[in-house]
């Protein structure tokens, strides 16, 4: 792709309006779905518009093997929403920063503020299971390191894809009273809490950094093939220019934004 872009720039003097080709999950709100109703869909469209082109989505569940089978196979040029320094990819400058959060029923007896709150030990805690051998979310590991396993219940992050928003099962379990508290990635919590018939309280996971060095907040960027530096530079420029508009989109979806400043330094090139 980088070579193609360079070639067209060289020939015509300015980039031809090639579509911005984005790999996206067809069923993963609030991030994306095949109705283009997610915030990543909207951010991608915004950037494509700025490039004078349109966005072309390639739909594939973002689960094990998705980089090899999507971006590597040439189905797209960009993944939205990957953590900065995500191993297999070149990443742009981050365009937002969110955090894992604790979610519980607003009108219930739970008022937990910290992973170190002893009240947590007597609650039924739900966490997402990642779905790769022996890799789990930071809260799951943090609970285990505090000796909490009996009261922790796992929900597959990659649950039944034949149903809408499979990642929302854990929030539904909270609404039903199957668990007392869910500790999940902020964007899920912010989005589904707004739509929940049950009022829910959301607080960032604290402490922000665990004693093991485990982090709960992440800078989020766009991911590209390692060779696509030209496209990465273009996107970096647009992400900086559109920061206010992107912030508005994220706020619309209830994404809890971490107070720490998003780094403006692009880390590609390593």
């Amino acid at each position: 792709m980088a070579m193609l872009v360079m070639a067209t720039v060289g020939a015509a003097g300015h980039p031809l309006p090639k579509p911005l080709r984005v790999c996206a999950d067809p069923n993963n709100l609030p991030f994306s779905n095949d109705q283009r109703a997610g915030f990543e869909n909207r951010i991608a469209s915004l950037l494509a518009h700025d490039m004078g082109t349109t966005v072309e989505f390639s739909w594939r569940p973002q689960i094990r093997g998705f980089v090899r089978k999507g971006l590597k196979a040439g189905a797209c040029d960009v993944y939205m929403g990957v953590p900065v320094a995500f191993g297999p990819l070149l990443t742009t400058a981050p365009y937002y920063r969110s955090t894992y959060v604790m979610v519980y029923r607003a009108k219930g007896p739970v008022h937990v503020r910290s992973l170190d709150d002893s009240a947590l030990r007597s609650l039924r805690v739900g966490v997402h299971m990642i779905g790769d051998d022996y890799q789990n979310t930071p809260p799951a590991q943090a609970l285990a390191s505090r000796g909490m396993t009996d009261n922790v219940r796992g929900y597959q992050i990659v649950d039944d894809y034949s149903k809408p928003n499979p990642q929302a099962r854990i929030i539904e379990a909270l609404e039903r009273g199957e668990i007392d508290i869910a500790i999940v990635w902020g964007p899920f919590a912010g989005y589904f809490a707004r739509r929940s018939p049950t009022p829910l309280t959301i607080v960032p996971v604290s402490p922000a950094k665990d004693t093991s060095g485990q982090l709960f907040a992440f800078d989020i960027a766009m991911g590209l093939r390692r060779t696509d530096t030209t496209l990465a530079r273009t996107l970096d420029t647009l992400l900086a220019r559109e920061r206010p508009a992107i912030h508005r989109i994220l706020t619309d979806y209830g994404v809890p934004l971490d107070s720490a400043q998003v780094s403006s330094d692009s880390i590609h090139g390593e």
């Binding site: 973002q62 980089v67 953590p83 297999p88 979310t137 009996d150 649950d159």
Partner: protein, 568 residues
């Protein structure tokens, strides 16, 4: 023992015979003439993906199951090859393609009652008429949208098709299912975790070791309801012993939970399972790696053999485990007779034959966020599913092996389904000696290596041994070799453009000649990096494997073909 009605010159089930010895009585190819072997014909499948498993030969025809989209291709062996007869394309749910763990592989078919029976990635077992290529029945066993896939080769015995599921990484709960070979109807299904009733554990369950005797260990050896996402899938091989009427298989790692999150033995993950072939009742079980912390799946085959042990012939199953130990187990009682390392390992100092448990080395345990260095073998295992062979002439087992170690620890950014997290960084590298693989001959009665051939890359192809005392195997950098079964002398080799991760077979052609066939097409877990320059996003496995295998693309490339050899 061959299935009733099978001819010695055919190859009708995955492992040649019920016990999966991969030993053929054919003896026209010998140690003295094998050097003259020439390619007779080849066929390009058009799919550049890992070609695991093996073709079948039945009644003058050959059958090939391709990787996804799992086409079945039939050839007429009475004509100069490749004489393609027909191609069957199964209906397939494309969502399965994104779900398979390590590559979109298929490990082959079984023949029974006029049908070729195999599993499609989207969890359907299909039976196809071997003459017409028309589908006879199709049974959907699970929904791929929930993470399950099927990659293993079914075994057909006593009119039943034994199949198992993949997808332990997705929190799938493992099972073995028996289908009616004529109709595809489910006869029984037995889970590998959970309450005794769902595991088909009853009064006839007699495990040899005390730790497995209490009731409902499939529940109580987990915390809470973790067994529901317990993994212990069945993506390896099933074998059968007609005399004891037992089917044997191994179970995969305990599902998605980190070791620290799932205290307990986590039964019956990483275990040998022996079930009554008719009823599915569990007769005995033995767990290889209690509370697995290294991804040492126990799915490798259990070869049924009668071998000398302490001066008497014993009826055993022999199993080369991912954890680096080779086990010789009394197949009726489940008693472990021998457990010795067949590759270098350091996570345990040995296996205590009184308790049946490995003696762990505490500093080689893995903990997320903590650095554990130099764990051997790596999570690819000292051997993966690629099956061994057993010759009743030499009484030796011939097995591929992997010699990789790993550092587990550090933290790196990962993500899935929109969710970022930090996980362990796994770095793999060659083990002691620097060779990353070996092909070796093993005496399972004494637990000793008889000879070994060091290989640059892990040996990810299966073995074949014949009455001509020739052993065949392939390498990931594309060499197909014939060696002397007695001493390991390399007698012949040829080279393919793409590496070999399939299992060689031999058969008698309609012209009376003995042929040897094998797939080329590198892939599977350790080979998955070859088709592209990007590392995969599989955090524990392939990312780590990329380090150990980074020079593989210099030695081989992606491909997919069948090669057939014969003496001139």
């Amino acid at each position: 023992m061959l299935p009733p009605g099978s001819k010695e010159g055919d190859w009708t089930i995955p492992g040649h015979d019920y016990g999966s010895t991969r030993y053929s009585e054919l003896d026209k190819i010998t140690t003295t003439n094998v050097a003259q072997l020439k390619e007779s014909w080849s066929y390009t499948t058009g799919i550049a993906d890992g070609h695991e498993g093996q073709p079948l030969v039945v009644g003058g025809r050959m059958y090939v199951v391709t990787p996804y989209p799992n086409k079945l291709v039939a050839f007429d062996l009475s004509k100069p090859g490749p004489a393609k007869l027909w191609e069957y394309t199964p209906p397939i749910d494309q969502t399965a393609f994104g779900k398979a763990c390590c590559d979109d592989v298929n490990r082959g078919a079984s023949y029974s009652g006029g049908n070729i029976i195999y599993n499609v990635l989207d969890n359907a077992t299909v039976a196809v008429n071997a003459i017409t290529g028309k589908q006879v029945w199709r049974t959907k066993l699970a929904d791929p949208s929930q993470g399950s896939t099927m990659t293993m080769a079914p075994l057909v015995a006593k009119g039943k098709v034994y199949v198992g599921n993949s997808g332990g990484e997705m929190g799938v709960r493992g099972w073995l299912t028996a289908l009616n070979a004529k109709t595809g109807k489910i006869i029984w299904q037995a889970f590998n975790t959970g309450p005794d009733s769902e595991m088909k554990i009853g009064s006839t369950f007699k495990p040899f070791y005390a730790s497995m005797k209490p009731a409902n260990m499939g529940v109580t050896s987990w915390r809470g309801d973790q067994w529901k996402l317990g993994g212990a899938t069945v993506w390896g091989w099933v074998t059968y012993d007609p005399e004891s009427n037992l089917v044997f298989y191994g179970t995969a790692n305990p599902g998605t939970w980190n070791p620290e999150l799932r205290p307990g033995d986590n039964l019956y993950s990483t275990s040998a399972m022996a079930r009554d072939a008719d009823t599915g009742e569990l007769k005995w079980a033995y767990q290889y790696t209690p509370h697995d912390a290294w991804d040492y799946d126990g799915v490798n085959e259990h070869i049924v053999a009668d071998i000398p042990f302490n001066g008497a012939i014993r009826k055993v199953v022999v199993h080369f485990d991912r954890n680096g130990f080779a086990y010789t187990i009394d197949r009726v009682t489940g008693e472990v007779l021998v457990a010795q390392p067949f590759q270098y390992l350091n996570w345990a100092t040995g296996v205590d034959l009184t308790s049946g448990r490995p003696t762990l080395v505490e500093e080689k345990q893995t903990h997320q966020g903590h650095m554990t260095t130099n764990i051997c073998p790596s999570s690819t295992g000292a051997r993966d599913q690629q099956p061994a062979a057993f010759s009743p002439r030499t009484h030796l087992f011939y097995t591929p092996a992997t010699n990789l170690c790993m550092d587990y620890g550090g933290i790196e950014a990962k993500y899935i389904a929109g969710t970022p997290y930090v996980g362990a960084a796994v770095k793999m590298y060659g083990g002691p000696g620097g060779n990353r693989g070996e092909f070796l001959a093993w005496d399972a009665g004494t637990g000793k290596k008889v000879w070994g051939i060091k290989e640059n890359f892990p040996v990810w192809a299966g073995a074949l041994v014949t009455a001509g005392d020739v052993v065949f195997y392939g390498t990931m950098d594309g060499d197909f070799k014939a060696v002397n079964a007695t001493n390991g002398e390399v007698l012949w080799k040829t080279h393919f453009n793409s590496g070999i991760v399939g299992n060689p077979i031999t058969f008698l052609g309609p012209d009376g000649n003995q042929y040897v066939a094998v797939y080329e097409g590198v892939g599977g877990w350790a080979g998955a990096i070859v088709p592209g320059n990007l590392s995969t996003d599989d955090p524990f496995a392939a990312l780590g494997a990329v380090n150990a295998m980074k020079d593989l693309p210099e030695h081989t490339k992606a491909g997919g073909a069948l090669h057939v050899f014969v003496l001139p």
